[in-house]
């Protein structure tokens, strides 16, 4: 049975805001003790100053005693500077740095679930190929694609795929690494 057109698609995907509305995007790399409560301490500092965390990636470091966080936030750089100092002050934080595009590479990944019958599948595959993405799940009526890249590339891919029926998208949020020999 092909996907029925009568089935109502409930999408959790939200529309992208216009680029101009996203002001003062910042990427922070935070190296912390791998212990319960550390994330809560950091989150408290941001929420107290009215900062929303746009994206957050936490994973164990190579030394399992520590964890690496990449935090994406937007807002007034002056206030952010103060929050960074407050984060650095936490006993469980080894260091917290802000990274810019020029001194670091920033990547993220998105999974997009699309409703596509055989008819439009080729078109979708062309878009995915253009972005260097992959198909990682395929059924008669749907597919999941994976696209990796910087935020603009991922945004652009989602914009193009929005021409088809997106059921949902899941983004990992940004991970950052300093360029060159310097450790992040």
């Amino acid at each position: 049975m092909p996907a029925s057109n009568s089935r109502e698609i409930i999408t959790t995907d939200t529309k992208l805001p216009p680029q101009a509305d996203i002001l003062g995007l910042h990427t922070l790399s935070v190296y912390v003790n791998n212990q319960p409560g550390v994330l809560a301490r950091i989150a408290l500092l941001f929420s107290r100053r009215g900062y929303n965390i746009d994206s957050l990636v936490v994973s164990r470091g190579r030394n399992e005693r520590f964890s690496r966080m990449t935090i994406g936030v937007s807002g007034d750089p002056k206030i952010l500077d103060q929050i960074i100092k407050q984060v650095n002050k936490l006993v469980d934080v080894i260091h917290c740095h802000e990274h810019t595009e020029s001194d670091s590479v920033v990547k993220e990944m998105v999974l997009v679930k699309l409703l596509t019958g055989a008819a439009r599948r080729t078109e979708v595959l062309q878009v995915i190929e253009h972005f260097g993405g992959k198909t990682i799940d395929l059924t008669e009526s749907s597919m999941i694609v994976m696209i990796t890249g910087d935020t603009e590339k991922v945004d652009a891919a989602i914009r193009l795929l929005a021409a088809y029926e997106i059921i949902e998208t899941v983004r990992t949020g940004k991970v950052v690494m300093a360029r060159g020999e310097e450790a992040t």
């Binding site: 003790n33 409560g37 301490r41 408290l44 103060q82 100092k85 002050k89 080894i94």
Partner: protein, 577 residues
């Protein structure tokens, strides 16, 4: 005594470690989840003294008062749930004023955490925003290391409270670890506080040396760093006047010719005028609190601002500065002083002398008993040498104005948090630290009733604390705001039904005195000072509707200070509280 080989449980290892760290006092209140720790107080021989309080909040303020009278931390020991919850106000008070403290809370057993067990509260989560650091212990063998880390974190850098939450099974399980386990804090280093940046020092010195109208603003950081000699050397070398914050009272002698007394919302007129007219503000160890800067955009706008602070996150938080030196106040001033030259500030000092003559702190001597007079006479009769603690409100501001401090560690007041109920238990803590000192808690009738139950603690321990209740049967500071800014509509400020504080004192076994006439103040104070066998409570019945001046309405600029009662109706203040 235990040796490494004798069996002991986690609680015993903990108590042994705290004793090794040199802790003198544990203020606390027992309860189920803390039973193993309380038992260890009996089974482990130690030099530590345990003081049983009557409410856990009192324990925190006692530890706070002890720390502010010595620079050393005391321990607070309470049980889980409500016991831990009752410490929150005291922990917040210590955190806001950078006071070292170690809080031990009992906790439910680990396998019941998160299951709403009896007297379970997530005190680790609850206290996160009000501590310097906290722990939830999950391994018995970690206890000595964590106790050492807590002590190190609480007392170094910018001090603060550290809480250790200890589940009951953790404290009563056998300890098989290393009693001497060393601290391991890769995210907490303090060495850089003593490694002053040379370029920062030179940039600061260049601004300072160009000044003609300097003011040194000295805060609590000077006291924590024990940098009073360096401050004196710097002030006299520069010929610069010194004003202090509420918590900085005593870091520079307030009776010294270069002292301008306290600045800020209820500071001296001459200190605040100096801040407006100066061409240099040299802030050492103050965080530019909103009580002292008024309207931030207009603060110091004719001046270059140099800021010395151990906490990098304080720079440019409230006030944009022109130069900064990050580090310990004593080390920073030692680095800075050789670069400084005497400033041509004689005309400026003359000008400020004029302000001192024109706008002295004063009060009316007729028309009933005023709080100012009681404090003024206390200052005289104790020759300014008493350890003073206060609550929060009108009496606190008058005490700050009229009880001049020439020495540090003798003025103990809740500044940042503005905690009512602080003064009396803090005085108990200070008296524990200095049994022979004259310790006077200057409190209002409002705040005193919040922690009055600690009279039992003072009586049982025969502590000769003097509680000076400046009683106007009002929450006076709030009433003052309602009079000035809310058309005198009194709301929630009338403390009718106050008990007879002298009789209450007697019921607890303390000496209770009452004074109503201005002429009797001296006699009553002298009577209280004679009593060294236990606490004395003086109920001073003061006139009800006196207001504190000078006053800078919250959020107003320093130049908009009211030196005397305003003649016209005031706009409601837009600033914080």
């Amino acid at each position: 005594m235990f040796t490494q080989n004798e069996p002991m449980d986690g609680a015993q290892a903990l108590i042994k470690t705290l004793d090794q760290l040199g802790i003198e006092y544990i203020f606390g209140y027992s309860g189920g989840a803390a039973l193993p720790i309380f038992d260890a107080l009996e089974t482990v021989k130690s030099k530590m003294k345990f003081i049983l309080v009557r409410h856990e909040q009192g324990a925190t303020h006692m530890a706070d008062g002890y720390a502010r009278a010595t620079g050393k931390p005391a321990v607070v020991l309470v049980t889980s749930g409500p016991g831990a919850g009752n410490t929150l106000t005291g922990i917040m008070t210590a955190q806001m004023d950078s006071v070292p403290m170690i809080i031990l809370t009992g906790q439910q057993v680990t396998w019941m955490l998160g299951k709403d067990a009896f007297q379970e509260a997530d005190i680790f989560g609850i206290t996160m925003p009000v501590v310097k650091h906290n722990y939830l212990v999950r391994n018995t063998n970690d206890l000595p290391r964590i106790a050492r880390e807590a002590f190190h974190i609480a007392t170094t850098g910018r001090p603060g409270p550290v809480l250790i939450d200890i589940p009951k099974n953790i404290s009563q399980s056998p300890f098989t670890g290393d009693l001497d386990a060393e601290i391991d804090l890769p995210g907490y280093t303090i060495d850089e506080a003593y490694d002053i940046d040379d370029a920062d020092v030179k940039a600061a010195a260049a601004l300072i040396n160009a000044a003609e109208r300097p003011v040194i603003l000295a805060g609590h950081g000077v006291m924590i760093s024990r940098a009073e000699p360096e401050l004196m050397e710097m002030a006299t070398r520069l010929n610069a006047p010194v004003t202090s914050t509420l918590l900085g009272k005593g870091v520079f002698p307030e009776t010294h010719a270069l002292s301008l007394g306290m600045l800020g919302m209820h500071g001296t007129a001459y200190a605040n005028k100096a801040m407006v007219e100066c061409d240099l503000i040299l802030n050492v160890g103050s965080r530019f609190d909103d009580r002292i800067i008024g309207k931030a955009e207009r603060f110091g706008r004719n001046a270059k601002i140099v800021h010395i602070d151990i906490d990098a996150s304080e720079f440019n938080k409230m006030i944009q500065v022109d130069a900064k030196i990050c580090g310990d106040a004593k080390t920073a001033m030692r680095a800075l002083i050789p670069h400084l030259k005497p400033l041509p500030s004689a005309p400026w000092l003359d000008h400020l002398e004029g302000y001192k003559r024109k706008f002295p702190l004063s009060y009316k001597k007729q028309g009933g008993l005023r709080m100012q007079q009681v404090i003024d006479e206390l200052f005289e009769v104790t020759e300014g040498k008493a350890i003073i603690t206060t609550d929060v409100g009108q009496h606190q501001m008058w005490a700050a104005q009229f009880y001049k401090n020439d020495e540090p560690w003798k003025w103990i007041s809740s500044g940042g948090a503005g905690t009512m109920g602080f003064g009396f238990p803090a005085a108990i803590g200070a008296q524990c630290a200095h049994p022979d000192a004259v310790v006077v808690a200057i409190v209002g009738d409002g705040g005193y009733q919040m922690t009055m139950c600690e009279l039992a603690t003072a009586v049982i321990n025969k502590l000769p604390v003097i509680v000076l209740v400046l009683n106007n049967h009002y929450l006076g500071m709030v009433r003052q705001w309602q009079e000035l800014f809310f058309d005198n509509r009194e709301s929630g400020v009338d403390l009718e039904g106050n008990p007879d504080f002298a009789k209450i004192a007697e019921a607890y076994g303390a000496l209770g005195l009452t004074v109503k006439r201005p002429a009797d103040v001296r006699k009553v104070l002298e009577r209280a000072l004679e009593n060294r066998t236990g606490p004395t409570v003086i109920n001073a019945e003061c006139i009800k509707t006196e207001n504190v001046f000078p006053m800078i309405p919250a959020g107003a600029a320093l130049e908009d200070m009211l030196i005397e009662p305003p003649k016209e109706k005031m706009e409601k203040p837009i600033g914080s509280t």
